[in-house]
C-alpha cells in the first residue's frame, strides 16, 4: 500500500487581508518608508535614513505613543520575563545548563533555579552539581519560565514549579514565535484527548494528557510506557493541524487549534498536509473564529 503523491508546485495566491478587528494592519517590507514625520521614536525593526523612518524587517507596524516599531512575522525569540518556553538542553556546564530556545543567544538554566527531587527546601550540595547530567542531559526537552533577561538579550530560565520540568514522550513542532498568541495560560489540556504547551518561543509540545497530575518526583521520572494508538492518532492529527495553521500564517492558541482539529476530522491524518486540504480546513477554522467574535 505504498503511496506517493507528487504534484506540480502552485504559485502562492495573494492573500486578501481579512479585516481584523481593530482596523487594517499597516504592513511593510524591508526598505518601505513607515513615516516621514520626524516626531516619532525609532523602535525595533526600523532605521532612520534621510530623515525618514524606514522598516528593516517585514511585518506589521505597531505604535506605542511616540514609539514606532515593526513586529516581524519571521523572527527569533526575544525573551520577556514571565514567558513560558520550551527548550532543548545543548550543553551541561558548571552549575548551569545551556538551553536552545530559538533566541539569538543560548539561554541558561541555573542549577539553583530548578526544583530538585526531594522537595523545595533542599540544600544544594556538591553532589548535586556532579549529578547534573542525571537530571537533564544533552538533547532533553524542558518547559520553563523566563526568570530574567540579561542586557545582551540572553535569557535565564527557571523551573521552580511543578508545572515545569523535563518533558517526556510527545512531539515537538517549531514555529515562528510571532505566531503564538500571548495568553493567560500556555498549558492546555484539549478536549480532543491530548495536551499542548504553546511555548512563547515558538516551540510547541504536544503530548498525551497525563492521567494523574501529582508529580511527586518533580517531573524527573519520565513515563516510558508505549503511548496507546488512539492517543497517537490525536497527537499526529494535532501536529498536522498546527503545521497547517502555521503554513497559512494563523495565530496559534487553544481555540484556533481546536477548531482546526475539528475541521480536519473528515480527512485522514496524512492528508491534512496536502496543500488543498490545508487551505480548506484553515479557511473553515478562520470562518468559525470570525463567527465566534461575532
Amino acid at each position: 500500500m505504498a503511496a506517493m503523491a507528487m504534484r506540480l508546485p502552485v504559485a502562492r495566491k495573494p492573500v486578501r487581508q481579512s479585516a481584523a478587528p481593530g482596523g487594517e494592519k499597516h504592513l511593510v517590507a524591508p526598505g518601505d518608508i513607515i513615516t516621514t514625520d520626524t516626531g516619532y521614536m525609532r523602535g525595533h525593526g526600523t532605521y532612520v535614513g534621510e530623515e525618514k523612518l524606514i522598516a528593516s524587517v517585514a511585518g506589521a507596524v505597531e505604535r506605542v505613543n511616540k514609539l514606532v516599531y515593526v513586529k516581524a512575522l519571521k523572527t527569533r525569540y526575544n525573551g520577556e520575563v514571565g514567558d513560558i518556553v520550551v527548550g532543548r538542553i545543548t550543553e551541561v556546564q558548571q552549575k548551569r545548563w545551556k538551553v536552545e530556545t530559538n533566541s539569538r543567544l543560548d539561554s541558561v538554566l541555573l542549577l539553583s533555579s530548578m526544583n530538585l527531587p526531594g522537595g523545595e527546601l533542599r540544600r544544594r550540595s556538591a553532589e548535586d552539581e556532579l549529578a547534573m547530567r542525571d537530571y537533564l542531559q544533552e538533547g532533553d526537552l524542558i518547559s520553563a519560565e523566563v526568570q530574567s533577561v540579561f542586557s545582551d538579550g540572553a535569557v535565564s530560565l527557571h523551573t521552580r514549579s511543578l508545572k515545569y520540568g523535563k518533558l517526556g514522550q510527545g512531539v515537538l513542532v517549531q514555529v515562528s514565535p510571532s505566531l503564538v498568541k500571548r495568553q493567560k495560560t500556555h498549558f492546555h489540556d484539549l478536549p480532543c484527548g491530548a495536551s499542548v504547551i504553546l511555548g512563547n518561543n515558538g516551540f510547541i509540545w504536544i503530548y498525551p494528557t497525563p492521567e494523574q497530575k501529582d508529580e511527586e518526583a518533580g517531573g524527573f521520572t519520565t513515563n516510558l510506557e508505549p503511548v496507546p494508538l488512539s492517543d497517537r492518532e490525536v497527537i499526529s492529527r494535532l501536529r498536522n493541524c498546527i503545521v497547517a495553521l502555521v503554513t497559512q500564517k494563523m495565530m496559534l492558541f487553544d481555540t484556533s487549534i481546536l477548531y482546526c482539529y475539528e475541521a480536519s476530522l473528515p480527512h485522514q491524518i496524512k492528508d491534512i498536509l496536502k496543500p488543498e486540504v490545508m487551505e480548506e480546513i484553515v479557511l473553515e477554522t478562520r470562518q468559525r473564529l470570525l463567527d465566534l467574535e461575532g
Binding site: 506540480l8 502552485v10 518533558l167 496524512k270 491534512i272
Partner: protein
C-alpha cells in the same frame, strides 16, 4: 550530514509509532511525503529540475558540453556528477563542511548510472573518438529535511527528462577535415530516454520495522538504512548500506521487497507528473523560487 538531537523519550515515541504503523506526521511506514516537482527552472541549463520533499529541497541542473570520449568507450558520451552542499541548507556545510557528504552522494550517483542500460550513452556520441556530449549533472542542496538520496535521485531523473541537447551534424570536406555544424532551429534537439533511469529508495530500520522517506527526526532514531536503486520495472540495480548499525539478512530481503514495490509506484507517479507538466507546455505558469 545535518542531524538533530532528540531526547530519549522523543526517540522512544517515534520508535513505538513506527511499530504501530503510525508515524509522527500520520503516515504509514511505506508512505512518502507529498513531493513537489518542477522542471525547467533554470533557463541557462540544458535541463533542470527542482524537487521539494517535505523540507528537503533539491535543485538539479544538467549542462551539455562537447568533449572527447573516454578512451575505453570511444563511441559513447558520459555523465559527470557534482553535488554542492550549500551552507543555506545547514550551517554545518559552511566552508568545506559539506564536501564529504557531497562526494558520497556523487559517488553513489556514479555507481547507479554506471549500468549500461540506464541511459543510452551511444546517442551522446557525435563523432567516435573525437567528439561526444558530456552531461554535467550539478546537484545543489538547498534544504535538508531528511531522505536526501531519494529526493536527489528523483530530481536527477526529472532533470534528465527535461534535458534538451542541440542537434549537431558533422560535415566532412574533400581533404578529410571535419567541421561541426549546429542546427539553426533552437527547438531542433535530441532528448534522452529516461525510462530506465533508476531512482533511489532509502529504507531506514527503526525498531523492528523499516520506513521509507524518513524525516530528520526519524533518521536520528535509525541505526542503519539500506539504499537501493530501483528501475521503473521494479528491477534492483544497486544496493548500499549506510549507518553504523547492522542489518539482519532476513530483514534485508524484506527491505528489498518493500523497496522494489515502493520504487515502482515512485516511478509511476514521477512519470505521470512529468508527462502532465509536459502536456501543459508553455501554458503552465512557472513557479520557480517565488512559490
Amino acid at each position: 550530514m545535518a542531524s538533530v538531537v532528540l531526547s530519549e523519550a522523543e526517540k522512544l515515541y517515534i520508535v513505538h509509532g513506527v511499530q504501530e504503523d503510525l508515524r509522527v506526521d500520520g503516515r504509514g511506514c511505506e508512505d512518502y511525503r507529498c513531493a513537489e516537482v518542477e522542471t525547467d527552472v533554470v533557463s541557462n541549463t540544458s535541463g533542470s529540475a527542482r524537487v521539494k520533499l517535505g523540507h528537503t529541497d533539491i535543485l538539479v541542473g544538467v549542462k551539455a558540453e562537447m568533449g572527447t570520449p573516454k578512451l575505453e568507450k570511444p563511441d559513447e558520451g558520459y555523465l559527470e556528477f557534482f553535488v554542492d552542499c550549500s551552507a543555506n541548507a545547514t550551517p554545518e556545510f559552511e566552508g568545506r563542511g559539506g564536501e564529504e557528504l557531497g562526494t558520497e552522494i556523487a559517488n553513489t550517483l556514479y555507481r547507479i548510472f554506471s549500468s549500461e542500460s540506464c541511459v543510452d550513452l551511444k546517442s551522446l556520441c557525435i563523432n567516435p573518438r573525437e567528439h561526444c556530449w558530456v552531461l554535467y549533472v550539478d546537484v545543489l542542496l538547498l534544504e535538508c529535511g531528511g531522505n536526501l538520496f531519494d529526493a536527489i535521485s528523483i530530481a536527477v531523473k526529472a532533470a534528465l527528462f527535461n534535458t534538451r541537447i542541440p542537434k549537431v551534424r558533422v560535415l566532412e570536406d574533400e581533404e578529410g577535415s571535419k567541421e561541426i555544424e549546429l542546427s539553426d532551429d533552437p527547438y531542433d534537439c535530441i532528448r534522452l530516454n529516461v525510462d530506465e533511469v533508476p531512482c533511489i529508495v532509502t529504507l531506514s530500520k527503526i525498531g523492528y520495522r523499516h520506513v521509507v522517506d524518513a524525516t530528520l527526526q526519524e533518521e536520528a532514531c535509525s541505526l542503519a538504512s539500506l539504499l537501493i536503486s530501483v528501475t521503473s520495472k521494479g528491477a534492483l540495480t544497486c544496493m548500499k548500506k549506510v549507518g553504523k548499525g547492522s542489518l539482519d539478512p532476513e530483514s534485508i530481503f524484506e527491505m528489498m521487497e518493500t523497496g522494489k514495490r515502493v520504487g515502482k509506484s515512485l516511478h509511476t507517479s514521477l512519470q505521470k507528473i512529468l508527462d502532465e507538466e509536459e502536456s501543459l507546455g508553455t501554458t503552465r505558469q512557472k513557479v520557480g523560487f517565488l512559490g
